[in-house]
């Protein structure tokens, strides 16, 4: 007979829950509004969700580093805050992409925005806890919401994408649960820090079982981070989803995933379990390279970007594998820069989204679509080219600095070979980014009147694009302050 447990309010420290609550309450609010008055315009909801996210961000910034709460399942450390900031910022930048000039099915539902906010909350949970249960819950909340959002795009492909994503996600969830179970079985706890303690205490006896657990973790997180061979969903889902959402998916879920991966793997790496390091090393190299070489042969820009984002993810995973403070900070820097560049790139695709498939029966954004763009729409072409160059890591555009930092992190911990592999991979990747530039600048226009490039451009979208252009070009000025900011947080959370 269990005796009743009394919980004191302050021990809950609900402040730690506040950000997620904001998001959730906001989402509910939107639904309520919809109940009260039907068919309000999407602009309202967009702005509302932006505001909610803004408040959320405020709360996050208000939090103080290094506190636990709510039965100690919440953990607010540097990583949590940092990643939440990134997540929220990204969301605030992506949600206005809904303000297209053309109407799209999904945005006519307020549920879309509610789900969006739920998803954000889910990600926040993922990053703001080191409790496997809560991570799991957050992960699933986010994923389930995401499946639905994809499906809401309401085209043949998007359903297919949703289903594929969903089924594989379910499998991944199974892996995750299994992994968690093994950890639990091994250590009798689901709190990562406790697990670490216990393992350290009995000095990593029965390594094999632990490794089996790690394997399942790698498998499930690898799915989230789209690491080879768990990446297969990525290109299809990106192709199926709307460009805006694809862009979002290429950034936000990954950062959440990275944070979790850090929490799960780094303590192993630091208590040098060589196995994990080696496996990650292999995984990183394979992911980078394979994704790159497949991206070479893509015909569709969006699909190419999907593969490229896989290889970027691999690039960044290296930072986790290296595991020094510099590497971890580099990871965040890289991802922030990547956020803006990718945002821009996908936004460009998004504005040029058109219903009828002129150039290719299957693809929306085949390379041919952009051929001779410089003649029809110089500014657009130049902007797109900037993003491509940045993604290719051509200095001084944003991503170069990310690459620089990660490679230098690799070098500084004597992974010179890895650095070389990274270099070579960037060289390979340059080809497919260049391909688009070649089409835009060096080929003659294939039959079109320039209108298509601006099909559903609108002031907000242009503003966003302009914003990311500025950040892409002048990144160098932002790098130093950003880096200091990030490092301070990362160090605060002892990574």
């Amino acid at each position: 007979m269990l005796e009743p447990i009394s919980v004191s309010m302050e021990s809950l420290n609900l402040g730690t829950l506040a950000p997620m609550l904001v998001a959730i309450v906001g989402a509910l609010g939107i639904l309520v509004i919809d109940l009260i008055k039907k068919d309000l315009d999407k602009t309202l909801y967009v702005m509302l969700s932006v505001l909610i996210l803004f408040v959320d961000l405020g709360v996050v910034l208000g939090q103080t580093v290094g506190q636990r709460g709510f039965f100690d399942v919440m953990l607010i450390d540097g990583l949590a805050i940092l990643s939440q900031i990134i997540i929220l910022a990204a969301s605030m930048l992506f949600i206005p992409l809904a303000l297209t000039s053309k109407r799209f099915h999904e945005y006519s539902y307020p549920e879309f925005f509610a789900l969006f906010l739920f998803m954000v909350a889910g990600f926040q949970f993922m990053v703001a806890s080191d409790n496997l249960i809560l991570i799991f819950v957050g992960l699933e909340t986010a994923s389930l919401a995401l499946y639905t959002l994809i499906a809401l795009h309401n085209r043949e492909k998007s359903f297919e994408a949703a289903v594929k994503y969903f089924v594989m996600g379910a499998l991944a969830a199974g892996f995750y649960a299994m992994g968690a179970m093994i950890f639990y079985a091994l250590t009798g706890s689901v709190e990562l820090y406790k697990i670490a303690e216990v393992l350290a205490a009995d000095n990593f006896a029965n390594m094999t079982i632990l490794l089996v657990g790690v394997v399942f973790m790698i498998a499930s997180l690898g799915f989230k981070l789209s690491m080879v061979p768990f990446h297969t969903w990525t290109p299809d889902v990106y192709e199926g989803a709307s460009a805006a959402l694809a862009g979002y998916m290429s950034v936000v879920p990954k950062i959440a995933g990275f944070v979790v991966a850090m929490r799960v793997f780094e303590f192993l790496i630091h208590s040098d379990v060589v196995w994990v390091r080696d496996i990650l090393y292999a995984a990183v190299v394979i992911t980078m390279t394979l994704a790159n070489i497949i991206a070479l042969v893509q015909k569709d820009v969006k699909r190419m970007l999907a593969f490229s984002s896989i290889s970027h993810a691999g690039f960044v995973m290296a930072a986790i594998m290296i595991g020094t403070t510099q590497a971890n900070s580099a990871l965040f820097l890289y991802w922030i820069l990547f956020l803006f560049t990718n945002l821009g790139a996908f936004a460009m695709l998004w504005v040029s989204r058109h219903k009828a498939s002129i150039w290719h029966e299957r693809f929306d954004h085949p390379y041919e679509k952009f051929s001779g763009m410089i003649k029809i729409m110089p500014v657009g072409a130049v902007v797109m080219a900037l993003f491509m160059l940045s993604l290719a890591g051509v200095p001084p555009f944003s991503l170069f600095w990310g690459k620089l930092y990660i490679m230098s992190a690799a070098v500084n911990s004597d992974y010179i070979v890895l650095a070389l592999i990274m270099a070579i991979n960037s060289a390979i990747s340059a080809y497919y980014y260049l391909k688009l530039i070649v089409y835009m600048f060096l080929k003659d226009p294939a039959e079109n009147d320039g209108t298509v490039y601006m099909k559903n451009a609108s002031k907000p979208l242009q503003t966003i694009i302009g914003f990311s252009v500025v950040l892409t070009v002048f990144a160098v000025l932002a790098v130093n302050p950003m880096m200091e900011f990030i490092t301070s947080y990362v160090q605060a959370s002892g990574f």
Partner: protein
């Protein structure tokens, strides 16, 4: 005015941006005037430059990423000064002689951006800044080759871009390692090249880093066997593209050799002399022979410029003031001469839209004026005394003679082989009877062409007869460089090989 370098770097870029506003008709004039101003600025730089001070001048330092030791760090010494002047000058000349009508606006704007990157590479003293400009220079060139080129232009453009890009990424890794080692040694991050020079590394590190840097630079030079992108690039690029590519962009590689690996890794450089020298010899002889086999005028010039770059590299690795000063001077002369040659080929291409020598013959009769200038430039490229390139070639070879007797003889064959292919080119296309109907009434050089070309001729002769104003500042800096390397070297061999002004010592 102590920000002249920044002005030099960014003026063309800003002008380029504003260029978007200028109307299509008047863009050419705009471009020329901008280039002219830039050139005048560079001349000002030259005149306010103190030729007797060996170190860096007009230094500008502005930390960009202090946490990581990356800074906006500019400066020129005798070595870089004239290459800067060369790049502004060639851009101006190229713009004057520009004969393209299609998308002229884009062309001019990208040229201006290219100018920024060129100047930037030569004045930046921070490795990362150097790298930034280095890579950035690929982009406008890609566009120029790819948009205005011949049949294979896209293939050529991509090949050019990727090849160089891949190489320089390896160099980037080298830079990062270097920075790391510097950090290990001093505890602070720094990418300042001048700082790196002070770092003395153990031999094995030196060798690996040397290789890393060398690959990046060698592809740009281009050293055999990394040279194959060049014939395509030249073969496809429009005249202006080839002119700038040959005259300035290739110099980035050789300039990089002088600026980075030599002072940073003197021992490794000495250790590597023979491998490098062998490569250069292959470049010199092999490419000269290939040039002889060409049917296309432009390809002959392209291969010839590879062959001459070989002499430059050889001079650089002579490790004595004569050789290095010579090679730096040869960079300039090669810039002027090969630039002029490409322009000349362009002239005839504009008239006949072919570059095949078999299509011509007897041009000397039809276009005497053109033939005269071509003759002078051919002779210059063959390295006749009292032309610029003789001074460079003579010094480079003389310098390297100290390293190896036999190799210098082999390298010296360049003066023979050069004569062989250049003269056969001249004979095939300018001598003999006029056979083709089309050639019967070709019009001779027009105003802007002859203006541009005569300027080049004058410079070639002037600096061939009186190289002092240029050679002296170069020499000052080079001498200090060499004695620095000598002091810095750790291995005995290196200290023996690196000879700061041997002769003076004997004379005294």
């Amino acid at each position: 005015m102590d920000h002249i370098l920044s002005v030099l770097v960014f003026f063309p870029a800003i002008a380029g941006l504003l260029g978007f506003v200028v109307s299509k008709e008047s863009i050419r004039a705009y471009g020329i005037s901008v280039a002219a101003i830039e050139f005048l600025l560079s001349l000002w730089l030259w005149f306010s430059f103190d030729g007797n001070y060996p170190g860096m001048q007009f230094v500008e330092m502005l930390p960009l990423i202090p946490a990581f030791g990356i800074s906006y760090y500019l400066g020129v010494d005798g070595i870089s000064l004239f290459i800067v002047v060369l790049s502004t000058f060639i851009t101006l000349i190229g713009l004057i002689a520009l004969s393209i009508e299609k998308d002229i606006k884009n062309m001019i704007i990208s040229l201006l951006f290219l100018e920024m990157t060129m100047v930037g590479v030569f004045v930046s003293l921070d490795a990362i800044l150097f790298y930034v400009f280095w890579e950035l220079s690929l982009v406008p060139m890609l566009y120029i080759i790819g948009a205005w080129g011949g049949e294979l232009r896209i293939y050529a453009a991509i090949k050019f871009f990727l090849y160089t890009f891949a190489g320089s990424l390896i160099m980037l890794v080298g830079m990062l390692v270097m920075a790391y080692l510097y950090h290990q040694a001093t505890g602070v991050w720094s990418f300042a090249i001048t700082e790196w020079h002070r770092l003395i590394l153990p031999m094995n590190y030196q060798i690996w880093l040397f290789i890393a840097f060398f690959i990046g630079l060698a592809i740009k030079v281009p050293m055999f066997p990394f040279h194959t992108w060049l014939p395509y690039a030249h073969g496809q690029a429009p005249t202006i593209g080839s002119v700038i590519l040959a005259a300035v962009l290739l110099k980035m590689g050789t300039y990089g050799l002088v600026r980075l690996p030599l002072p940073m890794f003197p021992d490794a450089s000495v250790y590597m002399i023979y491998p490098v020298a062998v490569l250069s010899l292959i470049m010199i002889i092999y490419t000269a022979m290939v040039a002889y086999a060409q049917k296309d005028m432009k390809q002959v010039v392209a291969y010839s410029s590879i062959s001459h770059m070989g002499v430059i590299v050889l001079g650089t690795f002579a490790m004595n003031p004569e050789g290095i000063a010579g090679s730096v001077f040869f960079m300039l002369s090669h810039g002027v001469v090969s630039g002029a040659l490409f322009m000349l080929v362009g002239v005839i291409y504009d008239r006949r839209h072919t570059k095949l020598m078999s299509e011509f013959g007897g041009l000397a009769k039809v276009m005497p004026h053109y033939a005269t200038i071509m003759g002078i430039m051919v002779m210059a490229s063959v390295g006749l005394p009292l032309t610029m390139s003789f001074v460079g070639e003579f010094l480079s070879l003389a310098g390297f003679y100290q390293i190896s007797h036999t190799m210098t003889i082999l390298a010296g064959t360049s003066i023979i082989l050069g004569a062989v292919y250049m003269l056969s080119l001249y004979k095939k296309s300018f001598f003999g009877e006029v056979v083709h109907e089309k050639n019967k009434n070709l019009k001779d050089l027009d105003g802007k062409e002859s203006m541009a070309l005569w300027t080049l001729v004058l410079i070639t002769v002037w600096l061939g007869v009186y190289p002092k104003p240029v050679l002296e500042p170069i020499n000052t800096s080079v001498e200090s460089l060499v004695s620095f390397m000598h002091k810095k070297a750790i291995t005995k061999e290196a200290r023996e090989v690196i000879k700061p002004t041997v002769i003076k010592r004997e004379a005294e």
